[in-house]
Amino acid sequence: MNFLAPFAFIFAATLPVVVVFYMLKRRRTVRLVSSTILWQKFLAETQANAPFQKLRNNWLLLLQLLMLAMAVFALSRPYFAATTQEPGLVVVILDGSASMQARDESPNRFEAARKEALKLVDGLKDTDQMMVLLSAGNTVVRQSPSAEKTTLRRVIEECQPGDTPTRVEEAFKLAETLAKNRANVEVHLFSDGAIPTADNLASIKLPVVFHQFGKRANNAGITAMDVRPHPEDPAQRIVFASIYNASSNAVSVSAELRFNGQFMDTKVLSLPARDVASTVFAVEQKQNGVYTLKLKNDDDLATDNEASIISNLPRPVKVLLVSGGNRFLDKALRAVPNVELSTASQLTSGGKGYDIAVLDAVTPLSNPEVNTLAMNVATTNWFESWRMVEGPVIVDWNANHPLMRFVTWDNVQVAQTLGAKAPPWGLVLVEAQQTPLVVAGEKGRQRLVWIGFDSLQSTWPLRVSFPIFMANAMEWLNPQQSDVSQLTMQAGTPFRQPLFASHDIATITLPKGDKKEVKLGEKAKELIWSETYKVGVYKANFGTNETSFTVNLMDPAESDITPKAQVPVGAQGATAGAISKRANLEYWRWFVMAALAVLMFEWWYYHRRTA
């Protein structure tokens, strides 16, 4: 025999306490009375006051000890190992996305879901196990399979929703992995059904019980926001925003734009039922800052009523072109906006004082120390060995890299190139049969783009992909990150900031003002902050640098809080329906606790009444 809760044997310590109570010689008050004749009946009971006499004969004590022992034994949950049906596994997936904070349920959808999940814990059979997954921006396993109801309850009580979109796909994949070698698996999804359709979900074969929450779709939210320079007036910026009305009625909302907290403009928008309306603000901007758009409407979901975006004024990038003379390259670089190009015939002092160094078919006297684009440069420590390759044929290129955006290589011919083995620090972007042609990567804190061939020994400068690649390269190599798109992200998406110097620690200021520290260390190349669960403006401080970044919901699927009767899980989808299951709810623990309480009460009452 074993015990599921051997910790309960600690209550056995109360057994000697009962005995001690009986053995205690009670302190008595001396009273002079006329005669003890009238007290004869009461005298008989007090014979048990001599300690050892009563322990021999006192049935009450024996019964109390027996009762207490049985209660303690029951609390320790004894069991015999025996062959029985395999215990079932209940996987609880709690949708912790932004839409679960809608207030159409009381107090909100997530709390209603939590209440239902706790009921499910109560109905869990003793042999069954439960696993709790919180699915928000990513899926977190809050509790691995366990039959401990107290733990499960505590874990569910601790779950909190975020401002992130739903990512239940991960949760279902996880559940499927766990269910692979188990029978009797049942997945309970506690959600409002605002789940984007995904192919992977359709293939899930697990039995899914969908607990649906949400009553109505009274919500209008910002689903997109961007800021651009004004095409006609460089002093002005244009702020775009898309607002989605999820309700079945047309609504009118007031949108207020602020810059660094200062009021800029307001517009009243008429939003058709279940449709998107766009608006544009043209405002003058003299410094870097944050635009915040706020919808003034009293809908059920507050998270998407506000969105922020970082807007930095363009800053020139200092580029040093070290070349023997390449008009194509020179022109392509000058065509890139915000580039301040300088030319030199030789690289001195590692290119210090410039943001980017471009080496074109030269042999530098010193290794470049800034971000570098190198074409046909051999004498560096970037590769192990060199060889010349004649007439390389381009066989593949990586179109997903930021450098290769809108760049194609299908009509580029190269006469000859330096050949080398792909280095560990770099990613091959363009590949010939014999050698990589273009490699990009980070070596230490230095970003490098290496092109093996001389552009003048190829048809590339004549192709449209050449200036586009150069523009992409200038953007990627720019250490100042003028691209604000990287400073605005969806809730749940990690913030990444490349580091060009070593820092020990970075401090992140959360939207509510709380500060958290991130340890970086000597070798850290990037600051990554993944806890972007709440919308708002964050600040990252490292060294003397300060970078602001904004986290927004901006997800039409989340803003559409229409309760869904079906979720796209499995081939047929899971439908919300009757979810009550026949389960044997055990109450024996309460009775045992009551027995203990009665025992204690008996003592207390006895002493109180005789006091």
Binding site: R28, V30, V33, S34, I37, L38, W39, Q40, K41, R609
Partner: protein, 298 residues
């Protein structure tokens, strides 16, 4: 004794009462009570033949005229009624608020006063014996006449309740020592470990018309001490431990009532007038109503 045992008002009302004796007095001393003895009084009793030497004043001349024979008229002799009050002066009587012994002394004074007013012989027999109070106690034996009542009250007031008493032995001795029987009134709490039966029986056996008054204090009827108690018997000094709570009050009171009921039944079975009272009860109520209704006096 600063406070008089009985108020003048009560004394005035008691003067109108007279002890009722169910039996004729057997005393040898002349008094106001009818007796079986023949003697001088106004109550005609019988005739008897004249014998030489009889007092000619008692000859019934009318009968001589009709029958021509000499008959002597006999009259009932009136004797005094001995009233013996057995007063329990043991330690147990000193308890209670109001004090049981004070109540008993008041009762004794009242009964004694009624008897003295009725020209009866009053004796207060106290127990246990106490040498330091011997003079007062001696003075309380054989008190006659109303004029003695003041001294009688004073002597009663000097009595104290201390020591251990043997109730049965005290009553037996009192019965034996009484030269003539009459009315006996026992004033006690009857809380004697040896019981009360033997004592009362000896009084009955001696020919007393017995009345008994059991006096308990309010504390004895409804105790106010609760919890784990060590009770010390005031008379014996014996210690006993009890656990007593409010929840057992009814049980206790039932036991007290049971004790009193047994006493009542015992007395009723032997023709003893029994009264159970509390020292907190009204003395007037007991004297003028209960004792009167029970024809102890009228």
């Amino acid at each position: 004794m600063s406070q008089p045992l009985i108020t003048p008002e009560l004394l005035r009302r008691l003067e109108q009462l007279q002890l009722l004796a169910r039996r004729r007095s057997k005393s040898n001393v002349r008094g106001e009570r009818r007796s079986k003895a023949r003697g001088q009084s106004v109550e005609f009793a019988d005739h008897r033949n004249y014998v030489s030497g009889d007092d000619l004043r008692y000859l019934d001349w009318n009968l001589y005229g009709r029958l021509d024979k000499l008959f002597l008229k006999l009259y009932e002799e009136e004797r005094e009624l001995p009233v013996t009050i057995f007063l329990d002066c043991s330690e147990s009587m000193s308890f209670g608020e109001p004090n049981k012994f004070h109540f008993a002394r008041q009762l004794a004074a009242a009964i004694g006063y009624v008897a003295l007013c009725g020209f009866d012989l009053v004796s207060v027999r106290t127990f246990p014996d106490k040498p330091d109070e011997a003079a007062y106690r001696q003075s309380l034996l054989s008190v006659r006449g109303r004029k003695s009542s003041l001294q009688f009250f004073r002597n009663l007031a000097h009595l104290t309740a201390t020591g251990t008493a043997d109730f049965n032995a005290a009553l037996r001795r009192g019965a034996m020592e009484s030269r003539s029987t009459g009315v006996a009134v026992v004033l006690s709490d009857f809380l004697d470990p040896q019981g009360y039966e033997a004592g009362l029986t000896s009084l009955i056996g001696r020919g007393f018309q017995v009345n008994a008054v059991q006096i308990l204090s309010p504390e004895e009827i409804a105790p106010t001490s609760f919890g784990d108690l060590r009770l010390v018997d005031a008379e014996t000094g014996a210690q006993t431990e009890v656990t007593f709570g409010r929840y057992r009050m009814e049980q206790y009171q039932a036991m007290v009532e049971n004790f009193r009921q047994k006493l009542r039944e015992y007395c009723a079975g032997r023709g003893i007038g029994i009264f159970t009272t509390s020292s907190a009860d009204s003395l007037e109520q007991l004297l003028l109503k209960q004792l009167r209704e029970s024809e102890v006096w009228g």
